[in-house]
Each structure stands twice: as structure tokens, then as C-alpha cells.
């Protein structure tokens, strides 16, 4: 199976060789090719040793018993079984699986950025999305995938089969992050194709004005969607890379600005932190979950955020 190259579009002559290596190494490329395996390993690893569906879930469908251990909820003890066997059993139930998770992944040019020794933000987002899709499929839920930049470019409708999962992962693997971002516009387009109420997970760097974003998300909230904003950022974006005087080129607009990172670091850090805090504060104010995911962090952080979301959705 041939995968399209995840490398960014060619840069002006003379600069390509300098930039290429900083975005994705050959090793990273190989790892990215095994996105399915990665998702599988990540999700299975995350749940390894855990009791499956320990939460009662909304369907309350009985699955089996387990021995009572101190710490289990007392109201789950099956007193009838105790009468028969003189042992304490706790009843366990299958979780509800009839749920759709809409995964919207930002593929704009800014997601192409990769800090030194780290993979590009998009790859991190793609891996999180793949893992979530795998998790959905594994739990019997349905997952949909939307890839957007200045518009919704790719849409995979909800599905829970393994084939559907492969299609989503294939779509993720075929992405070439480029062009500018129009997140509100893409969300408005997505709102039209997300017909069934469910969970909306948006993976983006959210380096945009928050007001139009929340305006666009308002229609999802109105329709009862639970929304999780996974803000994928590289540590360089919060700390600035360790350069002195450098000409910074915007990956989306190609705008250039020449600054001394050392001199601006503190001020820049304050500004980017203020922007992230504003996004998080606005999200919380609207009942939207927000989680910053750094490319240097573990992928499980995103899974935990998602699962936390699911818990609160109940």
C-alpha cells in the first residue's frame, strides 16, 4: 500500500534541504506508516490491566460477576448471589456503545511545525485521532473523521467497523498539511455533515481568533454535542525555539518577521500563554472541554482527556 508523503509542500529553491529534515525524519515516517499498529498499541496499552467497562454505563446491560474487594461500590453487591453462595459478588455491566465520535483534525500549514527532535504537530494529532478512532471501534462506538484546513477537505462518515477504521487511518496517512486555517468555516461545514448527536473532538493548534471559533461551535452545542478541544502544540510554540536573531517564516501565510528569540521569549511566552488561557477560559465558560496536548507529552494524555469527557457526558 502506497502512502502519500507527509512532508510539507516544497519550499523555495535553496531552502528545501534546510527545512525538510526539521519536519520529519525517515524514522518518523516509518513509524507514521504504522499508524494502525500505533493506535492499537496505544489503546491496548492504555487499558492493559484494567477491568473493561468498570463503569456501569447508561445501558446497565449485565455482563458478569466479580468478587467483591474493598473499595467496590456496595450498592453493586448482588445480595441474592450472596444468599446462594455466601460470597460477595459485584455485578458488572457492559458500557453503552451506541455513540458517535466526530474527530475533526486540523491539517493546515501551521500543523506542519515540528520542534527539534519532535514530530510535527499534525502527526501527533493524527496519532491521537487514530487512537481515538481505534478506541471507538474497539468499544463498538462509531467514529467519524473530518480533515480540515481552510475548509473541510476530507470527511469520513461515522462507522464502527474495522474497515471503516482502516479508511479513517488511510485518510490520516494521506494528509499533507498546507494552506491557511479557517477553523470556524470548517466547523460550520462539519456541522452540516454531523447529523447525529455525539461527541465532537477537534484536534488543532487553535492559533486563531477564539470568538468566531466559539460562534461556530455554538451550533454543535445547541444540538447537544459534547465538545472536546484538543489543542496540539509544540513546546517551541509556548517557549520559542532557542535561536537568537532569526527570520521567522509563517508556515501558513509565508509572512516573515525578524526577531531575537532571546529578547522576545518572555514577552512571547506571556502572550501565547494568555492566548491559550483565553481559549481554555472561554471553552469552560461554554461547557466545552479543553485540553492542551504537547507533542512532547504522551498520547495517553489525549485519551485520558477523551475518557474524562465521556465520563462527564454520562
Amino acid at each position: 500500500m502506497a502512502f502519500p508523503s507527509p512532508l510539507p509542500p516544497p519550499l523555495p529553491a535553496g531552502t528545501q534541504s534546510r527545512y525538510a529534515g526539521s519536519l520529519l525524519s525517515a524514522d518518523e515516517l516509518d513509524r507514521f506508516k504504522n499508524l494502525m499498529l500505533f493506535a492499537q498499541a496505544t489503546v491496548d496499552g492504555f487499558f492493559a490491566g484494567r477491568h473493561r467497562s468498570t463503569h456501569p454505563g447508561s445501558s446497565a446491560e449485565f455482563r458478569d460477576y466479580k468478587d467483591y474487594v474493598p473499595g467496590d461500590a456496595i450498592d453493586r453487591i448482588d445480595w441474592r448471589a450472596y444468599g446462594r453462595a455466601r460470597r460477595l459478588f459485584v455485578r458488572r455491566y457492559e458500557d453503552e456503545t451506541d455513540m458517535v465520535a466526530y474527530l475533526l483534525v486540523d491539517t493546515s500549514g501551521s500543523m506542519r511545525y515540528a520542534g527539534a527532535g519532535r514530530m510535527p504537530k499534525f502527526y501527533h494529532a493524527a496519532r491521537v485521532a487514530a487512537a481515538l478512532a481505534y478506541l471507538m471501534a474497539k468499544q463498538g462506538d462509531k467514529a467519524a473523521l473530518g480533515l480540515f484546513a481552510d475548509k473541510l477537505k476530507t470527511w469520513r462518515p461515522p462507522g464502527g467497523t474495522r474497515r471503516h477504521l482502516h479508511e479513517m487511518i488511510t485518510a490520516l496517512e494521506g494528509v499533507r498539511p498546507d494552506s491557511a486555517t479557517d477553523l470556524p468555516g470548517a466547523l460550520r461545514q462539519a456541522a452540516e455533515v454531523c447529523r447525529k448527536r455525539g461527541r465532537l473532538v477537534v484536534l488543532s493548534d487553535f492559533l486563531t481568533d477564539p470568538a468566531p471559533l466559539f460562534d461556530a461551535l455554538a451550533q454543535f452545542q445547541h444540538r447537544g454535542f459534547k465538545i472536546l478541544l484538543l489543542q496540539v502544540l509544540d513546546p517551541d510554540e509556548t517557549e520559542l525555539p532557542a535561536h537568537s536573531v532569526a527570520r521567522y517564516v509563517d508556515l501558513e501565510t509565508a509572512e516573515q518577521v525578524e526577531v531575537d528569540a532571546e529578547d522576545l521569549r518572555v514577552l512571547y511566552r506571556e502572550k501565547i500563554r494568555a492566548a491559550i488561557d483565553t481559549l481554555a477560559r472561554e471553552a469552560v465558560a461554554r461547557g466545552i472541554e479543553h485540553q492542551q496536548v504537547n507533542t512532547s507529552d504522551s498520547y495517553t494524555l489525549a485519551l485520558e482527556a477523551y475518557l474524562g469527557l465521556r465520563g462527564t457526558a454520562r
Binding site: D205, V245, Y248, V266
Partner: protein, 694 residues
């Protein structure tokens, strides 16, 4: 300010552009960095203050300054001292050392004399010279000794000259040294450094003439004097009487100087002929001199070598004073009068004044001569004549007196006789060309003693015959009353020394040939004046005798460095040479004077220069210059701070100063310090900018 490595500047100047080049390269070829969004970078940069935006230029400037200071330090900057930059870098130096060799330089402190310190400092100065540099040395005493005819590169010989400088006993004549230096300067071209190595004793340096030093010279004063020197010295010694007679006890008046802040309490020792000595305690306050009288017995006629001393101190040379005491036989003084010396005649009073001692023990032996018996034969053995109560003199007697005067005799004429007017008229006639100072009228006598007395009112106290009445002692003349005197008036010849209250001349003096005539318009008789009853009378009479002697007495002592003259028999010179105090035979300059010879020499040592043939026949005492004993230095402001154009001066001392004069003062440490300051400034700016960045 100059740079010793100045030629390297242009080869290293490119380094100065390094910070600017790096700055421009950063601006021109910055590292291109792809970033997700530059929005926040733009906002952050827009909020920076204006000075913050200029920080790179400011820091570039500071870094350039740092490199510049470092580069300048590498070029070895030196501060030009006293016009050292006037000399071309490749020109050789010419140094003239003018070293003080006066007596004061022999002051010893911490075991080292100022002269020895001067030699050490001079050696340091010579040590700054290179092989192409030239030097000359002038040793300054009363005369100047020059090492080379002209400037020479022979440093070894100059050092040898310095090390062979003998201790000085004279003053230092720096005006003479400057004249010698000017002659040396005339022989050379280019700038010359002149170093005065001295203790700057005030007497030597009070009036030094620097005007002869023309051209491009730099004067440096190197003070090698001791700190707070304290000294005591014998400043002089002379007998208290004009003539010393054999067997007499001479009151030797010794002047002791105490040139210190502590009082002097010591003992003066007088040693005569190395055989016997007399000691006398002496006390003097701080910074003062005192005169002490030491009775010195003189046993026999002839020359007696007398040495006065104090216990040695740090300057021992001036603690001794040498003098030669010539002991004479008695001198005959003729008194001329009409009467003898019996009873209360004025002659008797004069005889008592001339030799007031019992059994004629005094140095003067008066002999009476009747005025009627005056002839040349009776005056042949005398050179001094006192006339009082003189009878009428004929022309022959007047002629005898005139010739007596012309040959060098001295006459003191008390005009107390009725015949004096006529006698003096005859004498004036006999003297022919020499008018008398007084026109004498009749004798005015007072009938009643105690009424109509005249007193002396005015006098010329600078005259040698009134030497005893100088200063406050002139009040002794106010006690005198005169009852008998001649009506007289001044002729304008000679000089009137004393006048009575009515302007009548009381004392006048004139010369005739080699002799001196003193006219006293009064009498020493007891009914003519109260002069004979005064205590001053004998002293005055004896001083008149001394002052009548027109021959200059041989000085008792000479100062080192000054010309010593004398008269000796040529036969004595042929037999024996003169020897110095150290026993060295000296060359004396001779001038034939018949069988005798005039001799002269300049003594270089203190002590007795003698010519002895079994016994001492001639002796000249030579002493250190007493003006050297006050060791206080001259006020430095008296030394020239600025000379003519192109001439500078200053004080120097120590190896560092000499090096700085030779090469300038090194500013390398200051430039390095400034470079460190520039680094600290950059650090401070970085901190400020970092604080502004927050």
C-alpha cells in the same frame, strides 16, 4: 599619549569592525526559521520600547568599544611625561647628570649618606639608557667637575666617575654647574634630559640661575636628601682679642649652631696643638645658634693649631672648626707729648689704656716720646703713634710725622694742646697734597668743670674706628662729656666720624700715603673729659690701635673651596712642600716677591694645610662651609616649574619615575581596566534589557 606598537594599529584595526560585521551579517543573513505562526511574535516585537529596539546597535557599540580598548592596550599606550613625545622614537637619549657634592650631601641617615644615595639614583637613571644613548656627569661643589668633554655613550666610565666622587666639604654652586651644562648643550643637538640629583639644601638652591640652559632641555629634580635631617655644627671660632700674645689666655668665641627641633646641650672641646684641650658646656635652643667663650691658654709665641669640636653626629664634618692662632711678641706704641707720663697727665691715661695689665702684661707696650725730641730715628721701630698734649713742632718734626704716615704709620692725635692748631697746619703743609679733614681754631676750655660740657650727637658708625659702638652699644658714647676742645670745622677732605652737639667735628680721619691719621678733637685728661673714667676707654684705645694697622691681618681660617693666599719665604718653599690635612703634598701657585713668595691654592679638605720643617712654619686652617650646616631643603616652589618654550621640569624619584620619563607612563593596565569596564557595561546592558524583556 603615544603608542609604542603604533604601526600594528592598521594591521589590527580590521578587528574593530568584527562586532559590526557580525551585527550586519545577522541582519543580512539571519537564520530562517519556519514557525507555525508569527502573529504573536509580531505583537511581542511591536510592544518593545524604542531603546530596546536599539539594543543591538548599543551592544555592538559597546563590543566595538571593548575591542578598541583591547586593541589600544595591545598597542602599548604610554602617557607622555614632561614632553617625552618630543623625542623621535628612534632617536637616542642624551642625559646629563648634575650630582650635588656639597657638604650637606654627607649627612648620613640609616648608614647611608645623601651622596651615596645620589650615586645609587644616578645608577638607576643610567640603567634606563640604551647602547645608543649618551650621558655626561657634572659633580657640583664650589666648582664643577665634568666627566666627559662632550656627551658620551661610555656608561661604564660615567658610573666609575660617580663612584669615585669624594666627600664634599664645600657648598655647591649650581649656577656654575648650569653654565657648565650650557657649554655641553652647545656642543650637542637634540633634546637633553638634565637630572639634578641633590638634597636641595636651601643655601645651595636659593638663587640658582637656570637661564643659561637654552634649547630643548627637560629638567628633573631628584631629591636624595634625608627626611627631617637634624644637625649641629660649629659655625665659627675667633679669638676675642685682636692680637694673641705668648703666655696669654685667649677668650675663644665659638659659635655653635643647633639645626634641629630639639635643644642642644653638649660640650665644646678646644684642642691646641694636639697637646692640651679645654672643654666648655654649651646649650642652645632649637633652630638657633649660640656663642660660647672658651678660655684658651697660649703658651709660646708662634703658630698654634687650634681645633674646636663637638661630639660627632650624622654630619660629622661640620662638627669641627680649625683655626691658626698666631701668638705675637709685644707691640710697641709710641706716645708723643710735651710732658712725661707722670701724675694725671693724659699720657698716663693713654698708657693705662694701652696696657691696662699689671707689669705690662698686655700685648701693647707704650713708650713715651717728648714732642721736642721727635725725629725719624726714634720712630723707626714703631708703626703707631698717639699724640696728646703736644708741644710746638717745628717743620722738621712735622715732616717726620708726614713721612711716618706716608710709610704706613698710624697716628691718633688728641687735639688738647694750644699748639695743635699750628702743629696741624705744619703737618698739612708737610703732607703737601693731602689736606687735613679739619680746619682747627683755638682751644676752647671750660673754666668750671661740669658746666658747658659737650656731648657727642652724631656719628658714622659704619666706620671701622667706631666698630665698638655699633648697634645698641652706641649709647656708651652718650655717657661721654667733653669740656675742652678746639673750635673746628670740616674741610671736606677725609671723613668726619663724630660731631658734638654744636656740630663741631669731634673725630675725623684721613689717609696719607699708606698711613692713617685720626684727629680726636678732645682730650683724655681728667679735667678735659670723662672719657678716661669710662669702662669703654681701654677697649676703644686698643681697638683704635688695631684699626690703625692698615695691613690686613692674616685670616685665622679659610673656607674650603675658597682661595687661600699667603706670603712665605722662598727658601722655606724650596726646602719643604705644603701638605694637606690628609698628608698629601699639594701644589701651590707661587708669585715671587723678592726673597719672599706669594702663594695661593684652593683647599679641598677641611683641616690644617701646613709647611713644617721640624716645627710648623706656616699653617692655614680650612673649614667646611658653615652655610651647609642648615640642612633644611629649599622650598620646592622656588625651583622652576616652567622654563622657556620647549623646556619642562618636574620631580622624579625611583626606578618607576625614570622608566616613565624614558618611555612614558604605561597606560596598558588602564586600558585593560577600561576594557573590563566595557565588558561589565555590556553585562549591565544585557541585564537591563533582560529586565525590560519581562
Amino acid at each position: 599619549m603615544t603608542f609604542l606598537n603604533a604601526p600594528l594599529f592598521w594591521s589590527l584595526a580590521a578587528l574593530l569592525a568584527l562586532p559590526l560585521v557580525i551585527h550586519l551579517l545577522n541582519k543580512r543573513f539571519p537564520q530562517v526559521f519556519l514557525f507555525s505562526s508569527v502573529e504573536h511574535l509580531k505583537k511581542s516585537a511591536a510592544e518593545r520600547s524604542r531603546i530596546y529596539k536599539w539594543r543591538h546597535r548599543l551592544l555592538t557599540l559597546v563590543r566595538t568599544l571593548f575591542l578598541l580598548l583591547l586593541l589600544l592596550a595591545f598597542l602599548k599606550p604610554v602617557l607622555d611625561l614632561f614632553g617625552s613625545s618630543d623625542r623621535a622614537a628612534d632617536a637616542h637619549r642624551q642625559i646629563l647628570l648634575i650630582v650635588d657634592r656639597s657638604l650637606s650631601m654627607e649627612y648620613r641617615q640609616a648608614g647611608v649618606t645623601s651622596r651615596q644615595r645620589a650615586v645609587i639614583e644616578a645608577a638607576k637613571i643610567l640603567g634606563t639608557l640604551g647602547t645608543d644613548d649618551e650621558v655626561n656627569v657634572i659633580a657640583v661643589a664650589h666648582t664643577s667637575a665634568v666627566c666627559f668633554e662632550s656627551f658620551s655613550p661610555n656608561l661604564a666610565e660615567a658610573k666609575r666617575f660617580l663612584h669615585q666622587l669624594a666627600p664634599g666639604v664645600t657648598r655647591a654652586d649650581f649656577t656654575l654647574a648650569n653654565a657648565a651644562a650650557a657649554r655641553l648643550l652647545a656642543k650637542t643637538k637634540g633634546p637633553v634630559e638634565i637630572y639634578y640629583v641633590s638634597d636641595f639644601q636651601r643655601r645651595n638652591w636659593a638663587l640658582v640661575d637656570f637661564a643659561p640652559l637654552t634649547g630643548r632641555v627637560r629638567l628633573f629634580f631628584v631629591d636624595v636628601g634625608a627626611a627631617s635631617p637634624e644637625n649641629r655644627a660649629i659655625l665659627g671660632a675667633e679669638p676675642g682679642q685682636s692680637q694673641v700674645l705668648a703666655g696669654d689666655t685667649v677668650p675663644l668665641e665659638v659659635t655653635v649652631g643647633n639645626f634641629s627641633s630639639a635643644p642642644l646641650d653638649d660640650v665644646v672641646t678646644v684642642r691646641v696643638d694636639q697637646r692640651h684641650q679645654v672643654q666648655q658646656p654649651v646649650s642652645a635652643g632649637p633652630w638657633s645658634s649660640v656663642r660660647v667663650t672658651v678660655p684658651v691658654p697660649v703658651a709660646s709665641p708662634g703658630l698654634h693649631l687650634c681645633e674646636v669640636s663637638l661630639p660627632p653626629d650624622n654630619l660629622a664634618a661640620d662638627n669641627r672648626w680649625s683655626l691658626v692662632l698666631p701668638a705675637l711678641e709685644k707691640e710697641e706704641i709710641v706716645t708723643l707729648s710735651a710732658d712725661g707720663d707722670a701724675g694725671h697727665s693724659p699720657v698716663n691715661f693713654l698708657h693705662a689704656a694701652l696696657n691696662p695689665y699689671a707689669q705690662q702684661a698686655g700685648s701693647l707696650l707704650p713708650r713715651h716720646l717728648a714732642s721736642g725730641a721727635l725725629d725719624p730715628a726714634r720712630l723707626a721701630g714703631a708703626s703707631k703713634l698717639f699724640i696728646t698734649g703736644c708741644g710746638p713742632l717745628d717743620d722738621a718734626a712735622a715732616d717726620t710725622l708726614a713721612k711716618f704716615l706716608h710709610r704706613g704709620g698710624g697716628i691718633v692725635w688728641f687735639m688738647d694742646s694750644d699748639a695743635d692748631a699750628a702743629n696741624l697746619e705744619r703737618l698739612e703743609k708737610a703732607m703737601a697734597t693731602t689736606p687735613l679733614p679739619l680746619r682747627v681754631g683755638p682751644l676752647r676750655k671750660t673754666d668750671n668743670v661740669g658746666s658747658g660740657a659737650q656731648q657727642l650727637v652724631t656719628g658714622d658708625f659704619n666706620a671701622r674706628f667706631l666698630r665698638l659702638f655699633r648697634g645698641g652699644l652706641r649709647q656708651d658714647l652718650g655717657l661721654l662729656e667733653f669740656y675742652d676742645f678746639h673750635a673746628a670745622s670740616a674741610t671736606g677732605a677725609g671723613k668726619v666720624l663724630l660731631r658734638f652737639g654744636d656740630e663741631t667735628p669731634a673725630m675725623a680721619v684721613t689717609g696719607h700715603g699708606l698711613g692713617t691719621l685720626v684727629l680726636m678733637n678732645f682730650s683724655v685728661g681728667e679735667f678735659s673729659s670723662n672719657l678716661a673714667r669710662q669702662r669703654i676707654f681701654p677697649a676703644w684705645v686698643q681697638d683704635l690701635v688695631k684699626q690703625l694697622d692698615t695691613r690686613e691681618p692674616a685670616p685665622l681660617a679659610f673656607a674650603a673651596g675658597q682661595l687661600v693666599t699667603g706670603e712665605v719665604w722662598r727658601e722655606d718653599l724650596r726646602r719643604r712642600p705644603f701638605t694637606s690635612p690628609s698628608g698629601r703634598v699639594i701644589e701651590v701657585r707661587q708669585e715671587p716677591l723678592g726673597e719672599r713668595a706669594g702663594i695661593s691654592f684652593i683647599p679641598e679638605e677641611a683641616g690644617f694645610y701646613t709647611l713644617a720643617d721640624g716645627r710648623i712654619k706656616y699653617a692655614f686652617a680650612v673649614n667646611a662651609d658653615p652655610e651647609e650646616s642648615d640642612l633644611r631643603p629649599v622650598d620646592k616652589s622656588h625651583l622652576p616649574a616652567e622654563l622657556a618654550a620647549g623646556q619642562v621640569s618636574g620631580f622624579a624619584g625611583g626606578q618607576r619615575d625614570y622608566d616613565e620619563i624614558a618611555h612614558g607612563r604605561s597606560l596598558v593596565p588602564w586600558f585593560l581596566l577600561a576594557a573590563v569596564g566595557a565588558l561589565l557595561l555590556e553585562l549591565a546592558l544585557q541585564l537591563v534589557f533582560r529586565r525590560l524583556a519581562r
